[in-house]
Amino acid sequence: MKVFQTTLRIAVAMLLLTTATLRANSGETPHEAQGNLIDTKEEINDYIKHHLQDAHDFVFYTSGTTGTHYGFPLPVILWDGGLKVFMSSKFHHGASVAAVGDNYYAVDHGKIYKTDAEGTITYDEHHHATNAKPLDFSITKNVVGMLLAGLLMLLGFSALARGYKKGPIPTGLARVLEPLVIYVRDDIARPNIGEKKYRKFMGFLLTVFFFIWILNLLGLTPLGFNVTGNIAVTVCLALFTFFIVQFSANKDYWKHIFWMPGVPVPMKIILMPIEILGMLTKPFSLLIRLFANITAGHFVVMSLIALMIILKTAFGPIASTGMSLVLALFISVIEILVAFLQAFIFTMLSSLFIGMAVQEHDHH
């Protein structure tokens, strides 16, 4: 989102300097040229939506005047009757069709579609592309983000682990990481899962906690990641929790779902579908909560930054810039809190669900 912020700031600086150019540009049709400044509500909306989606290349900055993208391409890996590997630079940021062997691929709203040589994409009534979608295992921006987060975790925590060989008291960065690990263990896993069984799930809970937190924080950096705000990522995270809960569940858990003890038989029959539904809604709430919170956060911050441009005509450049800066800063600080909070809630609820599945019922 900060990419957008930087782009917009530079764009505003240019706007202030060359108002004449702006007038000339805004008069043109907005969708026509890539190189135009983003200054209408529709363009801003599209830009935010574009940011929230995954991308096949890394763009740090797009020059508003020349339309040049500064960044680097990422490898595209497609499965379309065979493995197709090529660099995303072939798409020229969506401007051209990539020819791989006999097949042609084009990018539309962050997704790769199979097209003809001209790159024709047909749309249905919901404005969704109807072209065939090849299975896309590309190293996209989100995958890079995940790999980066994983790498940071491996480096940081293996350093912490190595530090214990030198002495029981960690030093340096490890001193910051250790309380976090203890926090997850003592305040999330232990009270929810129970003293006897928590140890088995620590690997998953700790990994997920730091994975989500780091990715949430990476989303606030100017690198422009939106990994935890991607539905596929949160679905995957929630499914991990779901399967861990189901596979570690004991007899009592299944009994409570299919044949609730302690209630009359008609109630047991009524409760069964409700409990089965509850089994599925738990991970669903996890995935929607994380996705919605992070997406909304990114959307709000970007929209507040965009106020600078939208309100420029009403309040003048200085007032609108100042207002959007203050509001965006305020929301960004809250987003830092949300980044931790969502990682905490996801881990907390995961351990709660695991705890419900493995707890011993001694009152029946």
Binding site: Q53, D54, K111, H126, H128, L135, D136, F137, S138, I139, T140, N142, V143, M146, L147, G150, M153, L154, F157, S158, L160, A161, R162, Y164, P168, E178, V181, I182, R185, R199, M202, G203, F204, L206, T207, V208, F211, N230, I231, A232, V233, V235, C236, L237, L239, F240
Partner: protein, 166 residues
């Protein structure tokens, strides 16, 4: 919802699943396991150190009470020994006294009996001597008295008078 489903990328889901799985495996092996083990061992160490301190404190208290007990015992023992010694001394004195008394009594009795014997012997000797002496004297007296006829007659007469009286 429709938009969400359209945005869902199976490829990204697949990549995420693989990355997350590998990450969990790697983190468990290289980070979480050693970290949690170190934390456990450290906590265990702290706990055992605290326990040891508590134990040492208790031991010290035990030692102190032990010392007190030993001291009291020693004191009691000393008192007992002193008491015994005093009793022994008194007994010894008493015994010695009685022994001395009996010995002296014996000596006195012996002396007494010896003296008695001597006295008797002396008396007997004296008696013999006195008898001899008196016989000698009587002899002499008789000789002197009866040296004249007259006196002899007088004696016979007195003796006859006595007999006549009787």
């Amino acid at each position: 919802m429709d938009q969400l489903l359209n945005d869902f990328s199976p490829g990204l889901f697949f990549m995420q699943a693989i990355i997350l799985f590998i990450l969990i495996v790697l983190m468990r092996k290289f980070a979480w396991k050693p970290i949690l083990e170190s934390l456990d061992s450290r906590e265990e160490g702290i706990k055992s150190a605290l326990d040891a301190a508590e134990e040492a404190k208790k031991e010290l208290q035990n030692l102190q009470s032990d010392n007190e007990r030993i001291l009291n015992e020693a004191r009691a023992q000393r008192d007992a020994i002193l008491k015994d010694a005093r009793e022994l001394k008194e007994n010894m004195i008493a015994e010695a006294t009685t022994e001395a008394k009996t010995a002296s009594d014996k000596i006195v009795a012996q002396a007494k009996s010896t003296i008695e014997g001597e006295k008797k012997a002396a008396l007997a000797e004296l008696k013999n001597s006195v008898a001899d002496l008196s016989v000698e004297i009587a002899e002499k007296v008789v000789r002197q008295e009866l040296s004249s006829n007259k006196k002899q007659l007088e004696l016979v007469e007195s003796m006859l008078a006595d007999v006549a009286v009787n």
